[in-house]
């Protein structure tokens, strides 16, 4: 085998190179040549091609993402912002929480189980690298139509993968969402969120500093999996007996990752490691160049020291491999023995592969010959940046003009009753228990609320009851109608969900899933969504701490619905005060908070009943969202309410049904004067919630709402009759609601 060295590259400037097959554009390849002053070696080409890919470099999105920093609201809570493995938020009492959402969409379509499993594994390692103990995961999933054949291939595998990996790591899954839409057929979205906890002093940044410090690779061995387009690198080898066509999807081993988590936490605790970087996309190329460029700027690696699963791998393949469950550590020479003793205790294989230098260069040798010699910043940070053209699509006006006003509406009691039962059984509103029952929500013993609650709530500190709440939301239909408003509506819903549990909203992570950035219409959706989200975060005082961009989610010319998934984290000073979703106590009074308007554009009713998507999404009022959140948080703290549920998809009727179903009680509800029953029951007006108020607290509660001039209407009473009674309209036994709500997924997947 001939190894392509820096020396050889300097002598053979005209040797053809497979830059095109590696996904580089001609001008990008030329830029690499200009940076190096020669042609890149094969290993260098491999590094630049993966690190300059859309996935790693954010080259199409960077110019827009800057707004999250520029418009970031003042926040005392932010300890580490965008740019590190994950953002870190102060929650008080010396505790810090780190959380981030990440996509694994394309791999999950190709191989649903492994794609989803390694999506969970990757985000967990990001959290771990910050020095935090991972304490929970959530998953935000999008699939094609429930009745499509391919959904029956993809969904069970994704669910089993998310569950299999998370369950095996011992991380409770505390929530998420599942949405079905034809645009996600062949483009499923698998966004996984992980949250971790540490003390302030334990925050670690992934920087390679300290000349002479050792670079250590530990965890699973490096194999040939997860090499995108690696067949090209066969050109490096003239030996055609070696395996070609490496699989592009990584294969995970959650047991290895569980051991790696415990091992890393023990390394941090023993203070024998300066920094840890996880190996995710672009493997060693990414870890070495990011560690080096964030630190003193130099690193020398002897690549042949990497422990291999497959000895036939070429240096370029080793650089690009995305084998899972690997970590890179920076260790001082004095601590090396102690470091190795801990990895040995956990039976984690470890190799010292290099050291930090002061040269400003990342130099990689292969058996004594230099195969890469680059400025790490040019690989990790100075990738191409594109100002992609964007333009409001020509169809946007006609889409917005095609409102839901002309759709036939139910009016009689029987029609309203039928509408409720059909909506409860519709794919997007049905119970997701068939999915969430495959996830362990109990492990670690700190789960206070999990699905189907509005947000997941975790206890962080047993002695004080300090805890956090997290919700993920993302409404692609609203965003299709108006991406600026739609992104804000996703933010508003996540914000509302967190506040509904009684938590004070603090910070945001975002998963931005869109079609091709080369389509100006998609790029316009993307730009508008980011502008909306950044403005919204500024108005709500919740900074974006980090996240993920996934582009090219499209088939042919058809892009997915623009899907900005917002993960929002809030804090509860005492999780014992959390407000659950379900009505429980007979006699408590049900209040509807917020204004109800005739808003059905992009609604679940229009979609499920009429297959209609058009018009304008509900109007957004972030000041009202803030006011509502303060009412919910104060009411929780002061013990004024016993249950609360936010109003979103499907409107009030769905929220009422879910609230009585939780504990199997009943409720009597009346339509306020002057409101149309259909609008009252199914409108998706924002900044609304329902609450159950003990009679003893009713005056205090209404006084608080009045003082804030926030609309509150007494709409019903909880009872133990086992019936949801919409007085003067219809009544439904709770058992009938339960059958309608609970049967859809089991009958779709168990048949």
């Amino acid at each position: 085998m001939t190894i392509d060295t820096v020396e050889l590259a300097a002598k053979t400037p005209d040797q053809p190179q497979p830059w095109d097959e590696l996904g580089l554009k001609e001008d990008e390849y030329q830029r690499i040549r200009d940076i190096l002053g020669r042609r890149p070696t094969n290993a260098e080409l491999a590094m630049y091609s993966v690190m300059w890919s859309e996935h790693c470099s954010y080259k199409s999105s960077k110019v827009h993402l800057r707004q999250f920093g520029e418009k970031a609201p003042e926040s005392d809570a932010l300890l580490v912002g965008i740019g590190q493995n994950a953002g870190v938020v102060d929650i008080g009492h010396g505790y810090a929480v780190t959380f981030k959402i990440e996509s694994h969409n394309h791999p999950s379509y190709v191989e649903p189980y492994q794609g989803a499993a390694t999506g969970v594994g990757g985000i967990v390692r990001d959290i771990l690298a910050m020095g935090a103990r991972p304490v929970a995961v959530m998953d935000s999933l999008r699939f094609g139509p429930l009745d499509a054949d391919d959904t029956h291939r993809v969904l069970p595998g994704v669910v089993a993968g998310v569950g299999g990996y998370g369950n095996c790591l011992g991380l409770p899954n505390i929530g998420g969402e599942v949405v079905f839409d034809p645009s996600y057929a062949a483009n499923p979205l698998v966004n996984a969120l992980c949250v971790g906890v540490m003390k302030h002093e334990d925050i670690h940044l992934a920087n390679a500093t300290g000349v002479g410090n050792k670079v250590v690779l530990f965890g699973a061995r490096t194999g040939g999996d997860g090499i995108g387009g690696a067949s090209i690198l066969a050109s490096e080898s003239f030996d055609d007996t070696k395996p070609s066509k490496r699989p592009a999807v990584q294969v995970g081993d959650p047991f290895m990752e569980k051991v790696l988590i415990e091992c890393c936490l023990e390394l941090f605790e023993a203070k024998v490691v300066e920094a840890i970087q996880d190996l995710g996309a672009a493997g060693i190329s990414c870890a070495t160049s990011e560690l080096a460029s964030n630190g003193d700027g130099g690193m020398h690696v002897q690549l042949e020291k990497v422990l291999l699963r497959d000895p036939s791998l070429t240096p370029g393949e080793i650089m690009m491999s995305e084998s899972q469950e690997r970590m890179m550590g920076i260790v001082t020479p004095e601590n090396l023995d102690a470091f190795l003793a801990i990895t040995a205790k956990w039976d984690v294989e470890t190799a010292v592969i290099g050291e930090v230098t002061g040269t400003g260069r990342l130099i990689i040798d292969w058996h004594g010959e230099t195969i890469a010699d680059v400025d790490p910043r040019t690989v990790a940070h100075d990738g191409p940046v594109y100002e992609r053209p964007f333009a409001r699509p020509s169809w946007q006006d006609s889409l917005q003009a095609d409102g839901p006003e002309s759709l036939p509406r139910p009016s009689s009691g029987d029609e309203l009753r039928g509408t409720l039962l059909r909506l409860l059984a519709s794919p997007n509103l049905t119970s997701k228990a068939w999915i969430t029952d495959q996830y362990d929500r109990y492990v670690l013993g700190n789960t206070v609320l999990a699905q189907p609650e509005d947000a997941g709530v975790l206890r962080i500190d047993e002695s004080t009851g300090l805890g956090v709440a997290i919700a993920t939301d993302g409404n692609g239909r609203y965003a299709k109608l108006d991406p600026y408003t739609g992104a804000q509506l996703s933010l508003a819903e996540a914000y509302r969900n967190v506040a509904t549990t009684g938590a004070r909203p603090l910070a945001v992570t975002d998963g931005l899933n869109f079609g091709s950035p080369e389509d100006p219409a998609v790029m316009w959706q993307f730009a508008e969504a980011i502008r909306g989200l950044a403005d919204g975060c500024q108005a709500l005082g919740t900074p974006v701490t980090g996240g993920n961009v996934s582009l090219y989610n499209q088939t042919g010319d058809a892009a997915i619905l623009p899907t900005a998934i917002v993960g929002l984290l809030g804090v509860l000073d005492d999780v014992g005060r959390r407000t659950p979703q379900g009505f429980r106590e007979s006699g408590q009074v049900i209040y509807l908070l917020g204004e109800t308007r005739d808003e059905f554009g992009g609604s679940e009713w229009a979609w499920a009943e009429h297959g209609h998507l058009g018009g304008r999404p509900p109007s957004v009022d972030l000041a009202a969202e803030r006011e509502l959140a303060e009412i919910l948080v104060n009411a929780s703290r002061d013990g004024l309410i016993d249950a609360a549920h936010d109003l979103s998809d499907g409107g009030l009727a769905i929220a009422l049904a879910e609230s009585v179903l939780r504990y199997g009680v009943g409720a009597r509800v009346w339509v306020p004067d002057g409101l149309d029953p259909f609008v009252f029951l199914f409108s998706e007006s924002q900044a609304r919630a329902i609450v159950a108020v003990p009679r003893s607290e009713e005056v205090r509660f209404t006084d608080m709402c009045s003082a804030r001039r926030f609309s509150h209407q007494r709409i019903g009473v909880v009872d133990d009759g086992g019936v949801l009674d919409l007085q003067g309209q219809f009544s439904v036994p709770v058992d009938e609601l339960r059958t309608a709500h609970g049967s859809t997924l089991p009958s779709a997947f168990e048949a």
Partner: protein, 223 residues
């Protein structure tokens, strides 16, 4: 009273088991799979999770752990031992309990609040319950189907060694709805559901699981 909780590589519910011991009023002592040392504890819990990855068969490798040699010897001498989920699988693989756990009949992992009936209060871990008492504690497993040959099952039933039984839908295909069994002496109990996840009302479906831990602590005080 000191109750040891063993951590194998891949154990997941070891912290929860230790918390349950503390909530019940005991002292939890961490035991390490690689140490053939029980550190003088008065009882042992083998927690849930995936010991050594369970690539071969759940619990099949864990039975060979250095700590298990001591656990097996001590259990034969009467030391109270509770195996939860993976711990139950390890006890079966170690032949401290009869039968085996196989993949759930519906082939999926299941996590739910599971109603159970305590069939026997004559064990070290259930003496605080009344026989026939109905309780709800979380169940979460992928390989929780309890199987044994007919003679063994008849023997278990005849000797009152079925400790807990599933109520309602059988969640995993376990023979005769068996959720947990004991050895003849009653000091060794294994069950698939997780009593350690039902010791605080805030984080569990209730506190019905606490009795497993208070039972053994009270038994030790009496002894």
């Amino acid at each position: 009273m000191r109750v040891g909780v063993v951590t194998f590589p891949g154990s997941l519910d070891d912290r929860d088991a230790a918390r349950a011991v503390r909530v019940a009023g005991g002292e939890a002592v961490a035991l390490w799979h690689g140490d053939a040392d029980l550190r003088g504890v008065d009882a042992v819990v083998l927690p849930g999770g995936f010991s050594y990855g369970d690539y071969l068969r759940c619990g099949a490798i864990a039975r060979f752990a250095p700590v298990m040699e001591r656990v097996v010897d001590a259990a034969r001498g009467g030391l109270p031992v509770l195996g939860i989920c993976n711990g139950f699988q390890i006890l079966c693989e170690s032949h401290l309990l009869p039968g085996a756990l196989i993949r759930n009949d519906h082939r999926k992992f299941v996590c739910r609040d599971q109603p159970l009936r305590v069939e026997s209060a004559a064990t070290a871990w259930t003496s605080g319950y009344a026989a026939g008492q109905e309780i709800v504690i979380p169940l979460k497993n992928g390989e929780g189907g309890y199987v044994a040959d007919q003679r063994t099952l008849d023997e278990l039933e005849g000797e009152g060694r079925v400790v807990v039984r599933y109520l309602g839908d059988n969640p995993n295909g376990s023979y005769r709805d068996i959720a947990g069994v004991a050895n003849a002496r009653g000091n060794v109990v294994g069950l698939m559901p997780h009593p350690e996840h039902a010791v605080e009302a805030l984080t569990g479906p209730g506190t019905d699981g606490l009795g497993f831990f208070t039972s053994v602590l009270e038994g030790l005080v009496r002894a």
